[in-house]
């Protein structure tokens, strides 16, 4: 590698990278982010969609500096390590759709794969149901890969293409900090809970840089076990889980239960199917939502398009009531709310699964992606 600590050369180093990411997540929770959300990519992209008024649910609107930090962290470390490479052209609209569906699935479950692990570390058994769905989705996507699925190769393209997303996010972050009232900001709910901007940005930068060096991918970690019996990437997830488990036990946030979990619901079928969509789509897209942010930071125009799919997917999920509601216990004034997706969300999840099967088992590899005898 060009610079910095090599975090990908052994399982121990990968686990160390995961532990650093876990510490960042724990610090952000301590500094004010929602406790078992910490640095959830789906939730935070959804909050950014709210801040930009692409969706108008008043409780989930805030321009999250962590997302900017993750992309910029990957961008900077990739430049320093001479791994920044500007590419595009691998089925961009299909990737947009995959990003869109990943977000819909994540918001039915209420969290991306990263938050799934954070929720598990806090004892949320609904996340275990989500993990089973996620693993089944990854398995289905891997089966599609084995059957020959490919989105085709990306190609080198003009350098500015790689700078657009990091630069745009940086400009938007500056605007969100420097102008009052331009972007929407929640006054209650998860969107109102946040660490100070500088802590969020620095946390995101570190998280993104480490994730880039480790090649962190939640879908890839399960896919590599299924496909090659390779446990490298799962070592990172193990590091994150252990650190957050220790944090949750020490701070008294560990609650082994299906109920009483913050921003979650116990509709098992929809937790399972929501994460099934995420796992399936992530394998077809070549990475989970976090990995897409990292690849976008290191120059992939295709991953940047996937990010746009995630962003617009979040807007649709809330504008058209596809996202789940959180369960809530009864109070003196209100009855208990079971949470979970409404009819729109349930239909959307089923539609996503059908579309994923069409994409996964209908697209054939291109001729260039084959082996041939060299002259």
């Amino acid at each position: 590698m060009g610079v910095g600590l090599d975090l990908s050369s052994s399982k121990a180093r990968l686990a160390l990278g995961g532990a650093i990411m876990g510490v960042v997540a724990a610090c952000l929770a301590v500094f004010g982010n929602p406790k078992n959300m910490a640095i959830c990519t789906a939730c935070f992209i959804r909050d950014i969609a709210g801040a930009l008024k692409l969706q108008t649910v008043e409780t989930v609107q805030y321009f999250r500096p962590e997302i900017v930090g993750i992309v910029l962290g990957a961008f900077i470390i990739a430049l320093l390590a001479k791994e920044f490479k500007v590419t595009a052209g691998s089925a961009p609209l299909v990737r947009f759709l995959l990003g869109f569906m990943m977000m819909v699935g994540a918001l039915v479950f209420l969290g991306c794969p990263l938050r799934m692990v954070l929720r598990l570390s806090a004892g949320d058994l609904n996340a275990l149901v989500g993990l089973i769905g996620f693993a089944l989705g990854v398995f289905t996507g891997t089966f599609a890969l084995k059957r020959g699925f490919s989105l085709g190769p990306a190609h080198p393209t003009a350098a500015p293409n790689g700078y657009v997303l990091p630069a745009s996010l940086l400009v938007l972050l500056v605007l969100s900090v420097a102008t009052a009232g331009l972007f929407a900001v929640s006054e209650k709910g998860p969107g109102s809970l946040h660490a100070p901007v500088i802590a969020s940005l620095v946390g995101g930068l570190v998280f993104g840089a480490v994730a880039q060096r480790c090649r962190t991918c939640f879908a890839g970690s399960i896919r590599d076990i299924i496909l090659m019996g390779n446990f490298d990437l799962i070592s990172i997830i193990g590091g994150i889980f252990v650190v957050m488990l220790v944090y949750n036990v020490i701070t008294g946030n560990f609650n082994l239960s299906f109920t009483g979990q913050p921003v979650a619901h116990a509709r098992h079928l929809w937790n399972l199917l929501g994460m099934y969509v995420v796992g399936f789509a992530a394998v077809l897209a070549g990475g989970c939502p976090l990995r897409q942010l990292i690849m976008a930071g290191q120059g992939s125009g295709d991953a940047a398009v996937t990010f746009l799919g995630l962003l617009i997917g979040a807007a649709f999920a809330h504008n058209f009531k596809l996202a789940s509601g959180a369960a809530a216990a009864a109070t003196a004034d209100t009855a208990a709310v079971p949470g979970g997706p409404g009819l729109n969300g349930q239909i959307a999840v089923i539609a996503c699964i059908l579309v994923l099967f069409v994409i996964g088992f209908g697209m054939k590899p291109r001729e260039s992606a084959t082996a041939k005898a060299a002259a």
Binding site: S150, K372, A373
Partner: protein
């Protein structure tokens, strides 16, 4: 020598192509073209896990790995 063109492909397709080429042409030396550093690293680790020796050389648009 068998050439595997994995340039620009998403993970884990390059490794799957290498694996497929090994199975289709056992004992043959492979020349694997990749475009990203992390894909090069992944192919090298994959080759090592299979007991193969690999060497990499830079090309105009990435790297060429020789695996034997």
């Amino acid at each position: 020598m068998i050439e595997v063109d994995a340039r620009g492909l998403s993970c884990p397709e390059p490794l799957m192509l290498v694996d497929k080429a090994w199975k289709a042409h056992p004992g043959e030396t492979l020349r694997v073209l990749v475009s990203e550093v992390f894909v090069k690293t992944n192919v090298e680790k994959f080759a090592k896990s299979k007991g193969k020796k690999s060497t990499a050389a830079p090309t105009d648009d990435g790297f060429a790995l020789t695996i034997e």
